[in-house]
Amino acid sequence: MTNLSPDMLPAEPGNGLRNLLPRWSAKLAVGSVLILAITLFGLAGPLLVGDPDRIDNIGLTAPGAGHLLGTTQTGQDVLAQIAYATRGSLYIGVLVGVLATVLSVLFGIVGAYAGRAIDETFSLFSNVMLVIPGLPLVIVISAFVPPERRGTWTIALVLAITGWAGSARVLRAQTLSVRGREYVLAARVAGERPARVIGVEILPNLLPLLASQFVFSVIAAILAEAGLSFLGLGASSSSTLGTMLYYAQNGFALQRGAWWWFVPPGLIIALFGCGLALVNFTIDEIVNPTLRRPRRPIPTVARPSTGPAPDTGDDVVLSLTDVSVTYQGERPVQAVREVSLALRRGEILGLAGESGCGKTTLAYAITRLHRPPAQVTGGSITFHDRVEGTLDLLALAPEQLRAVRWAKLSMVFQGAMNALNPVLTIRAQMVDVLTTHRPAMSRAARRARCAELLTLVGVDPRRLLSYPHELSGGMRQRVMIAMALLLDPQIVILDEPTTALDVLVQRGILQEIMRLREQLGFAVLFITHDLPLLLEVADRIAVMLDGRIVEYAPAEEIRDHPRQPYTRRLLDSFPSLTGERGAFVRSGGTS
């Protein structure tokens, strides 16, 4: 199953703009309203309010008629001052944001695109600038500039110079990732000029990230400038929210309890930052769709199960009766339609079908590992335990289900690339199964068991202390198998256990599985698209198409007398070593 990490954008060549538009949500609404309101206030406010500098004999007064936000110590209207100050702060914020973004594009994107020495140098430079503390540097530089020369542009330049490094680093990482994509390589091979490649292929994919970084720069700039002004080091001629707070402190606003003077400026900065942050959230959700909030929680089981299937007595360990699984949403998709299967003790049942037919969904649903929006909408899944009798898996309470998982029924997942926890040792990941399910075991016994199982699958027990990334693909898969057998389960579900491996390793793993099955006596549900493989290993085979079981028979029968045309096509589709190619057309439908 794919996982969209924040490092990977769903990038398409030059045309991903539709993907980049935000989905509407409360956060976006509130954020946009805040930003718009404050920006409007800053732009239009000064035109509507009075003169912020006009002094008045009334001195410091609380909010009331005539002065909605009260007056300062010298009788100046606070509302008027805030309007002008907001404009000043916004101006500097956006100015610095633009300058900083230009610098970060230069050092991040262009540097990463140019590659090699330039990239190394730019990257080192960015990291160094990032790590040197910003505000102290700004203070030192500002202090050396004489007050007459401390204008808005000087301050903006200083803030930009100290603020671009973070964005540059993020943009560089993203550019490096995009740069290796096929369409970019294609463009370069076709001889497009670098400027055009950057402008047309790379930048549009980085737009959400760029927008997010710009937003971040603006907030940071407004905050930094406010801090500078508050300390008296800001631009001498400008009037910003920070300067207002400086004069408020100068006029003992805090000691006089003149909250209307010192609370609003900070509040505006906070609300503006909050608005930008909320919009940033939404941009984050575009970049990383897993962050999107689920509309309403969807329970994994839709209606009470139709009850456990009775124990038919012929040694069935798992029975699925009319199981249906639907992906809920605007247009629900039924992934599994009324599937009925019976897995006997010790048998290997193969489940075959092409990608997307629902076999993995079904496998996950058996122990309720599926996640919303997938939902079991019908049927029953019954586990016939050797010891405890009949267990209705769909009706089990969460704690009971947890106890059943792995102890009675374990899984080996498709593509063990990511199935192992990268930060724990192999031993730790195996031992935690034992500490959870067999708390009475001693430490020595646990370690012995892990070593025993690794040896069983053909992995050197010294590998217990290794981390997953230190093992080869084949070894990882064997470890997964060993892990699956730790608790002596009655059923092991194998989901495409060898697809990601090369042919020879495939053979080895399969032989191991067969041998272990002989030795330990567990039943296997073997899910794969490789029907010919199943013919060799499985006892019985079920063929799945579009969520339904279309053929369900012992392996010999399927091999010799496949009844469904689809089955036949599936059989023929695989290339043989002798060179005959099957003509498999992925239609999944009527022939």
Partner: protein
């Protein structure tokens, strides 16, 4: 790794949980413990007087009364011969000296010293100490701020005679009232007494150094003081971070005496219960102008008409209300104090006191007759150059910053553009020294005695100025007027007791400076002192200003402390 990550993490997880719990409990306990009010003395112990002088950086120990980096002890540890009260026309109060007299020519000053005085290390105080101190000052230019040029000699253990080459009546108060006497036996071996760091001061005063920390130092009462051990047993001086911190500490009841702007002054007794405030008009707020083009000044302010226009355009009533909480009072263009010096104000002045209401029409008339014309933006201009001036202030001087901004707005009404520049203290001093300013908001301070001669000498005499680029004395305006110099010379040679002889030169000075106005009078500043009346009694009040009640004024602060008594509540 021999241990697994899991083992390590399991261990540290438990460890972390317990340490976190422990930390929370510990913090709670400490917070609860720290909640006790600190500094409250045990029953029966005398309360400590906590004072804040405005110190905004950490203290660096130095009790050398002559060093520019001294932090205290002047008046409390070291004493002068006499005490001159500058806010009233009092006679000088005997301290280490018991009486003095001048010869008629003003060239010899005879002083009788107090007997029975000992230094805090037990040695006797004699005339030799006085002679030594004066000699040391005469030899070291760095110590000689008062311009002392006499020769002191001990007649016997209790009599000293000082001879001068020229009549020196006006130098008397500085020698008698502002010179701190130090012990010869401790100072004779100090290499550079002008700047030496003195960590364990030995003096004759009512207090001794108790302990020193950079954030605060404490003085304790001297049981062997010749005037009797003072009633206030301990004084602590705090270092905070500025006016705001001072106001906050005051509100929390952590300071007993503070001099400086305090928010909401008129409600002091309500908002700070147990406290009172006394406002003393003394220093005169002015706009220093670099006024003399002949000495290198540049800018519109070199034109007397511009200065007069500014003088007319300032709304003093509004300024007093908005920037100074109405603690200011009227100021005279003669720079005589309207209270103390009322009798001396000349009838020939156009305005005995500066008008509290603005006269914008008059200001504009003055500008127009000087060749300025009003531009379309409302600002006057001449020869294409707008009438724009800058005024410099010191960052952290909250009231002056507000005042400068307010004046700027007021001048805008009259058509003059004023920009306020905030500088660090160093840049401020530098600007004054180099003459690189147009206007500065500043104040004129008084001399060592309640005599207007000093203000005139400091700020208006040619001897105290220098051209732009060279370092001047207090006369930073570069003002120079030979007639005033001559009048000052006459005053210098006249016995201050001879009021009749002084009248004519004083008149000349007053009328000429009102015309020239190198310093534009703004308001007389009311120095605000807030004190903890409920804890200590004996403070100076407006009815009884026996000393200038500012914590930073030496030796007046010692005078106040010596008179305080714990109220016993």
């Amino acid at each position: 790794m021999s241990r697994t990550l899991e083992d390590f993490a399991m261990l540290s997880r438990e460890h972390r949980a317990t340490t976190r719990a422990a930390a929370i409990l510990a913090t709670a306990a400490l917070v609860a413990g720290g909640c006790k009010s600190s500094g409250a003395p045990a029953q029966g112990e005398s309360p400590t007087l906590v004072a804040y002088t405005g110190q905004a950086t950490d203290y660096q120990i130095n009790f050398n009364p002559f060093a520019p980096t001294r932090i205290g002890g002047t008046g409390t540890i070291f004493q002068t011969l006499f005490f001159y009260n500058i806010v009233r026309n009092d006679k000088p109060v005997p301290r280490l000296g018991s009486q003095f007299s001048w010869n008629p020519a003003g060239t010899q000053l005879s002083i009788t010293l107090r007997t029975g005085v000992t230094w805090s290390d037990g040695e006797k105080f004699t005339a030799a100490d006085v002679v030594f101190t004066l000699g040391m000052i005469a030899k070291n230019k760095g110590m000689n701020n008062g311009g002392y040029a006499g020769h002191a000699a001990a007649v016997d253990d209790t009599h000293v005679t000082i001879t001068f080459d020229k009549p020196s009546f006006v130098d008397g108060p500085s020698v008698l009232g502002k010179t701190y006497i130090v012990p010869q036996h401790k100072w004779k071996d100090i290499a550079d007494p002008a700047v030496a760091v003195v960590k364990d001061p030995v003096g004759t005063g009512p207090y001794l150094l108790d302990e020193f920390k950079p954030q605060a130092f404490t003085l304790k009462a001297n049981p062997a003081y010749w005037g009797g051990e003072p009633a206030v047993k301990k004084i602590r001086y705090l270092a905070l971070s500025g006016n705001q911190a001072g106001a906050t500490a005051l509100k929390a009841g952590q300071i007993d005496w503070q001099t400086g702007p305090v928010p909401d002054l008129k409600n002091v007794e309500k908002s700070y219960s147990g406290y009172r405030a006394v406002v003393t008009p003394l220093n005169q707020i002015v706009l220093d102008t670099c006024s003399n083009a002949a000495l290198g000044c540049q800018g519109p302010q070199t034109d007397p008409a511009v200065r007069q226009a500014i003088y007319r355009a300032v709304d003093r009533t509004q300024l007093n209300a908005l920037a100074f909480e109405n603690t200011g009072s009227g100021i005279s263009p003669s720079f005589l104090l309207p209270g103390r010096d009322k009798a001396l104000i000349s009838a020939g002045l156009r305005n005995p006191t500066a008008p509290m209401q603005p006269d914008v029409a008059e200001a504009q008339r003055l500008l127009e007759s000087a060749g300025y014309a009003k531009g379309s933006d409302g600002i006057y201009a001449k020869d294409g150059k707008p009438l724009a001036l800058t005024v410099k202030t010191v960052a952290g001087w909250t009231d002056y910053i507000t005042a400068a901004n307010t004046i700027g707005q007021q001048l805008k009404q009259a058509g003059i553009k004023l920009t306020v520049q905030q500088l660090s203290w160093n840049e401020f001093v530098d600007a004054k020294d180099r003459g690189s300013f147009q206007l500065i908001i500043d104040s004129l301070y008084q001399g060592p005695a309640p005599d207007p001669y000093y203000v005139y000498n400091y700020f208006f005499s040619t001897a105290q100025t220098a051209k732009v680029g060279a370092k001047p004395g207090p006369n930073v305006s570069r003002f120079s007027d030979p007639q005033i110099d001559q009048a000052l010379d006459t005053l210098k040679h006249t016995d201050p007791a001879d009021i009749a002889a002084r009248q004519a030169p004083l008149q000349t000075i007053q009328t000429r400076i009102e015309q020239a106005m190198p310093y534009i009078p703004v308001l007389t500043q009311g120095t605000i002192s807030v004190y903890h009346d409920a804890k200590f009694t004996g403070w100076p009040t407006s009815d009884d200003l026996y000393a200038f009640p500012a914590i930073w004024q030496d030796p007046d602060n010692a005078e106040v402390i010596m008179r305080l008594k714990p109220s016993g509540k």
